[in-house]
């Protein structure tokens, strides 16, 4: 599956948030959307699965325009993991089972149960499955959200800052998990993220957004200090560590 975004435009009233944003995921498994606060990362993700309706441009999944699909059909091909996680008095199993909503007609089928069970086992969450959400830590809740997206069985998963609330270990776990998913299941992942060094380590290609415009698009090898300085208006040093670029603020 390839995601193609063609000159996407979105504005909240007069305030234009996305100007003609175009890119393609190509063959890359994980594509990271980078950029300062307010650059339009979240808006971009939400325009792709039409939580927000873009005013111009097109989103194509393998040449299929997304705007021709119904909400349910979109949910069968694109999963969305929101930044904020909600808890409550429901079990982890039930929270993950919700990912089957686009596939459920009236009642849960054996297949829905089997898919949910499979994802729970794969993500090592068996011991959690009957715990209540309001007993979980932030990292566990994030994992539940990702599990829910996997249960949706889509070819594309959008994640809005999946690591923002997590400690180092959980960040690494979640991003490694996403890497494995993209490799094993031919799923594409598009995520927004603030931590550049983490992004460089785990994502395959990078889109730099600034004021709603794409100002850089590159794989890991193409990252330069100039690119970062242009996007964030800070001077940085770039070093290579095990073939992975590492950014530090310049003195």
């Amino acid at each position: 599956m390839t995601l193609n975004v063609e000159s996407l435009r979105f504005a909240y009233k007069e305030n234009t948030v996305l100007h003609d944003v175009s890119f393609s995921t190509g063959d890359a498994g994980i594509t990271a959307v980078l950029g300062p606060n307010g650059s339009g990362k979240t808006t971009l993700l939400r325009c792709i699965n039409r939580i927000l309706k873009p005013q111009g441009g097109r989103v194509l999944l393998d040449d299929k325009p997304v705007d021709k699909l119904t909400g349910k059909e979109i949910a069968k091909s694109i999963a969305y993991v929101a930044q904020k996680t909600y808890s409550g008095n429901i079990s982890v199993f039930d929270a993950i089972l919700l990912g089957r909503i686009p596939h459920i007609s009236a009642n849960v089928s054996d297949n829905d149960m089997a898919v949910t069970n499979d994802v729970i086992e794969r993500l090592d969450m068996v011991s959690l499955s009957l715990r209540m959400l309001n007993e979980l830590s932030g990292g566990e809740l994030q994992k539940v959200s990702i599990a829910r997206a996997l249960v949706q069985q889509t070819s594309l998963i959008l994640l809005d800052e999946p690591t923002a609330a997590l400690d180092l270990k959980n960040q690494i776990d979640i991003l490694k998990l996403l890497g494995e998913i993209t490799e094993k299941n031919q799923i594409k992942v598009l995520l927004s993220i603030h931590d550049l060094n983490t992004a460089f380590r785990y994502a395959d290609q990078f889109i730099f957004l600034k004021n709603g415009k794409v100002v850089g698009f590159s794989d890991r090898w193409g990252i330069t200090a100039g690119m970062i300085e242009n996007v964030y208006n800070v001077s940085v040093d770039l070093r290579w560590f095990d073939d992975i670029p590492v950014i530090t603020p310049a003195n």
Partner: protein
């Protein structure tokens, strides 16, 4: 439904779901027992077996026949229908407004509907009032009265919805708006009362506290139809409510038409509230308390939470009604006075314990 194959997760989940089903079945059983108790107790106590006999065989063989079918049974069923309707409305409002303090009464819908009903009876002349006994108001045009009550409760619902949407209001702000709307519509009712003659006035005061003994069989019929229709709609949307529980964006990402679910849910909840209030009067707190009790019993998976809330509401209002009938016997208290007394401490308890959903 769940085969316990080899997976420990699935068999564990199977037991977890079975427990919830069991709780619902127990509630159903309790309701059955309570119906018989309710029919047999009152100013005239009917022996248990006579009650069962009359309920099970429709033939007129007992001297209690007319008390059972003419008075006790309609009152009992009215309490169940009104209680379930208010509880399910509360349960749905709490999820669509993401507000654990939501209920028809706390958000001002109940008093708005009461004003609408009074307005219709006084100004549009849809009811005949006489202040004897429990039937202080006989509604001549039930549809018109309900429609008027419904319109006014929709106004309240609209204001609350707009506030939730545009201002992203916190639960506390919504509640304060509900308080304001309550006092506005109570003021409106007082205005009407000022111009009422003494017979009408007595009737209207009577109406501000709901009484399950007020509805006739035909009114009960209308209430039942509307409440059942709304319950079907709510149950049809159970997965949507579950998704909303995970936040708007997640729900939208799952293909849930969030705006429509919210709007229609609020309209249906208003309708259920309006129809029960236009026939039996305002009953406070059942819509708030029943979902909270239920949440502790079965959690908030709406597949089980909705049916369990419906049963809790019925149980709660029916048992209150039985107590209200007996507590000052031979005087019969309207049930709303009792629920208000019970509801206030529970509400304060919820505020203290942090009313977490």
């Amino acid at each position: 439904m769940v085969s316990t194959e080899a997976s420990p997760t699935l068999s564990g989940y199977g037991h977890y779901v079975a427990l919830k089903r069991f709780i619902i079945i127990v509630q159903l059983f309790m309701l059955m027992v309570l119906i018989v108790i309710s029919v047999s107790l009152g100013s005239v106590n009917i022996p248990f077996f006579d009650t069962l006999n009359i309920l099970l065989t429709p033939k007129d063989i007992s001297r209690y026949h007319s008390i059972v079918l003419g008075v006790r049974l309609p009152q009992t069923l009215t309490a169940i229908v009104a209680g379930s309707g208010l509880a399910v409305s509360g349960a749905v409002m709490q999820i669509i407004l993401q507000n654990p303090l939501g209920s028809p009464f706390t958000l001002g819908l109940s008093n708005a509907a009461a004003f609408g009903a009074a307005f219709s009876v006084m100004i549009l002349g849809t009811g005949v009032m006489h202040s004897t006994g429990a039937d202080a108001i006989t509604i001549m045009a039930p549809y018109k009265t309900t429609l008027s009550a419904f319109s006014f409760s929709l106004i309240s619902a609209g204001i609350i919805l707009a506030l939730a949407r545009i201002k992203k209001a916190s639960p506390e702000v919504m509640l304060l708006t509900g308080v304001t709307l309550n006092s506005l519509f109570v003021a409106g009712t007082m205005f009407l009362q000022y111009f009422a003659d003494d017979v009408q006035l007595a009737a209207m005061v009577f109406w501000t506290f709901g009484d399950a003994g007020r509805a006739s069989w035909s009114e009960l019929g209308i209430m039942t139809v509307v409440t059942l229709a709304a319950i079907c709609y709510f149950l049809f949307n159970k997965w949507h409510y579950n998704a909303l529980n995970m936040g708007d964006e997640t729900a939208q990402g799952l293909g849930v038409p969030v705006d429509r679910v919210r709007m229609m849910g609020m309209v249906a909840a208003s309708l259920v509230t309006a129809v029960s209030i236009s026939f039996i009067g305002v009953i406070s707190f059942v819509g708030l308390v029943a979902p909270h009790i239920t949440r502790r019993l079965v959690g908030e998976d709406y597949r089980f939470f909705l049916p369990a809330s419906i049963l809790t509401g019925g149980l709660l209002l029916l048992s209150s009604d039985i107590v209200a009938r007996l507590i000052l016997a031979p005087r019969v208290l309207p049930v709303a006075i009792l629920t208000a007394f019970l509801g206030a401490p529970v509400f304060i308890y919820l505020l203290i314990t942090g009313y977490r959903r």
